[in-house]
């Protein structure tokens, strides 16, 4: 008896999940966007619900142009298997584009699935530069940032100021490896040396003091943190506690606004970090922030969230340009159309998408303000340097992307 009831319930819930896709006519003129993000883990604040808010902001800005846009959301829990299953399910149920997907290992899995099913993958949240390098795909656009850009932005800037010997503390998975590899290339190209690295188990590590001590013993001038989020915050806290910041420069290779918020300006002041978006950059970014702030828990959008906005807006423009039916039928063609059209949005300004799927826009080196310099909550950055888009990202012929004809 019990089993039958359970089976019935399972059947009912499956039917409920399929129901919204039931009517064929509505499906034909509706573009379905699936925001897949970290809704419950360490990357939640920099991506997660804020990415959904920013995707919806893009849909609102795009307005009504003869077709409906529906935004779905899901939590991939930073697990490649969970993400891959969700992606297959979504694409099979008529989702046209998957948006965001932080965590490089999950993003690389979905990159394959989008290609296999000829759908669209608009990545904002993942860092690995392999998405537009060795694993590039005609169905993928990598919008916001990547490890190469971070390595050049922060790494090269610190080498230039005399930091020519490095020790890395690296998260032991795809993202950490890529970030260390890309930074090492810049350090060595500038005549510097990497004296050592400690790869720590991710995400099971809470205490970084052991690695701080190893970094100290290496006598390197720079501590490269090839990690993100809570791990970076905990590394910086430990470095300050053990006085490492007096003898070594701290290079937080991936650090964003919410991490600075978590760390506090007292501990964070003076850090250099690289981002392609900051809410207080210019009039357009400030206007965008005003528009979305109320929905975004009264926080300004973070970089990855802004990327979801930019990518969605441009995708919708491409869909309008080529027609909904054509865009739904062929993800590859939709991405090709996105590449053919110049981009322009309030977060990143004018730009373009390269043939390997890399979005090109200016990149900023920020310095974290001291508590005295900050005028209030979220006023954390001052611009230290601006790199034009064409120089900020890995040159097209160096990524090893099969789509690039040499």
């Amino acid at each position: 008896m019990d089993t039958t009831r359970r089976r019935l319930l399972a059947g009912a819930s499956a039917a409920a999940a399929v129901a919204p896709f039931g009517t064929a006519r509505a499906q034909a003129s509706t573009i379905r966007l699936g925001v897949m993000s970290d809704m419950s883990g360490p990357y939640r604040d920099a991506t997660g619900p804020g990415s959904v808010v920013m995707t919806q902001a893009a849909v609102a800005e795009f307005g009504a142009r003869g077709f409906n846009v529906e935004v779905l959301q899901a939590d991939h829990q930073n697990k490649p298997d969970v993400g891959a299953n969700l992606a297959r399910q979504w694409y099979d149920q008529g989702v046209d584009a998957i948006i965001d997907v932080p965590t490089s290992s999950v993003a690389l899995a979905i990159n394959q699935i989008a290609r296999e099913k000829n759908k669209v993958f608009l990545n904002s949240g993942a860092a690995t530069s392999d998405l537009t390098g060795s694993q590039c795909s005609p169905n993928t656009v990598h919008w916001t940032y990547d490890t190469w850009m971070l390595a050049k932005g922060t790494g090269a800037a610190i080498v230039r100021t005399g930091g020519d010997t490095w020790f890395f503390i690296t998260a032991d998975y795809a993202f950490g490896h890529a970030l260390q590899r890309d930074t090492t290339r810049f350090v060595e190209a500038a005549g510097g040396r990497v004296l050592g690295a400690a790869r720590y188990p991710f995400p099971q590590t809470t205490d970084f003091s052991a690695f701080i001590l190893q970094a100290q013993a290496s006598r390197a001038k720079v501590l490269g943190m090839a990690n993100a989020s809570t791990d970076t915050v905990n590394t910086i806290k430990a470095a300050r506690e053990f006085g490492l910041h007096r003898s070594m420069k701290l290079a937080a290779l991936l650090m964003g606004l919410v991490d600075v918020h978590a760390l506090g300006l007292e501990a964070g002041q003076g850090l250099l970090l690289t981002e392609s978006f900051y809410w207080d950059l210019n009039d357009r970014t400030r206007r965008l922030t005003e528009r979305v702030r109320a929905q975004n828990q009264n926080r300004p959008p973070a970089m990855v969230q802004a990327g979801c906005y930019g990518a969605t807006l441009h995708y919708l423009k491409a869909v309008a340009d080529m027609g909904v039916a054509a865009a739904k039928a062929d993800g590859r063609a939709a991405v090709a159309r996105m590449k053919a059209m110049p981009t322009d949005d309030d977060a990143f300004g004018p730009g373009r998408i390269r043939e390997d799927g890399r979005k090109i826009h200016p990149v900023f080196l920020f310095e974290v303000k001291s508590p005295a310099e900050s005028r209030g909550p979220w006023d954390y950055y001052k611009v230290a340097a601006t790199t034009p888009g064409e120089e900020a990202f890995r040159p097209l012929n160096e990524g090893g992307c099969q789509l690039v004809r040499s």
Partner: protein
């Protein structure tokens, strides 16, 4: 003397010391778990969330009430302990007659819900909490730079562990508690209010977790998932030490902290795994744990 196994001696000593510090957290957390398991027979999977609540209450006291670290050290365990008492009275007390598994599932579920609530309220990226000015700064030990605060953590944790052990092993209250685990009905027949004693024991175990949370707040990011990773290691510590053995959990906590610290020098990639390898070996050779009674 300069090098031991190819590692400079100062670095090795430094790592030993750090291992002890991390061990102090393991010891305090596993102590709470051991007390709860020993007396209630409940595997308290909410422990990680209660550790996190301790850190958050410290932050709330500072932000909302202007009460600093020293007040937090006193008040946070009290507040979180009271929530523990409520949980025990309302829910856990209904499960004592059932299999361990039910208590495990219930506390695991409660832990997930607490974490979810904090994540919704405070986000996942964490909140800043500073080291109290009296304990900031560092000593130069020659072979390493020793932050005063970390030294304080070890001393305080040792004190807390010793106090707990004394209460349970050397006082009349402790004797009642131990007697109640052996034969609750008989102790009750002597006029001791056993259910109340068990409730307060759970509250005390939870308060220990919260105390560890307050100690952790200035050095780790205060965020909703801060207990999740730690608690898995702590469970391994409890299993290795022997479920319910108080002295065992303290000694194992410190020892495993040191072993983990040394692994971070020789093979950092394996530092999360080493504890579980040890756990597997211990379970194969001494299923009741190193200090447990079979």
């Amino acid at each position: 003397m300069d090098e031991i196994f190819g590692i400079p001696a100062p670095l090795l000593f430094g790592q030993l010391l750090l291992g002890l510090i991390n061990g102090a957290f393991y010891a305090m957390l596993s102590l709470g778990l051991a007390v709860i398991f020993g007396l209630l027979n409940i595997i308290n999977f909410t422990h990680g969330a209660q550790f996190m609540m301790g850190a958050f209450v410290a932050w709330m006291l500072l932000e909302w009430a202007g009460l600093g670290y020293w007040w937090a050290l006193l008040l946070a365990p009290l507040v979180v302990g009271i929530t523990g008492v409520i949980i025990e009275r309302l829910m856990i007390s209904r499960l004592y007659k059932l299999d361990h598994l039910y208590g495990l599932l219930l506390t695991f579920g409660i832990g997930l819900m607490i974490e979810g609530i904090f994540r919704n309220e405070f986000g996942s990226s964490g909140l800043p909490y500073r080291i109290p000015p009296e304990l900031s700064g560092a000593w130069d030990l020659g072979f390493m730079f020793m932050p005063i605060y970390r030294g304080w953590v070890v001393v305080f944790a040792l004190f807390a562990c010793l106090a707990t052990w004394l209460v349970i092993e050397k006082t009349r209250l402790g004797a009642y508690l131990r007697a109640a685990t052996e034969n609750a009905a008989l102790v009750q027949a002597f006029g001791v209010n056993v259910p109340r004693m068990i409730t307060l024991t759970y509250g005390a175990g939870v308060a220990l977790a919260a105390l560890a949370g307050v100690l952790a707040a200035p050095i780790y990011s205060v965020n909703p998932q801060m207990g999740t990773n730690l608690i898995i290691v702590v469970f391994a510590v409890v299993v290795i030490g022997g479920m319910g053995s108080i002295l065992g959990s303290v000694i194992t906590g410190f020892t495993l902290g040191v072993i983990e610290g040394l692994t971070k020098v020789f093979w950092p990639e394996a530092s999360a795994t080493v504890i579980f390898v040890i756990m597997a070996i211990v379970l194969l050779t001494r299923p009741a744990g190193l200090f447990g009674r079979a």
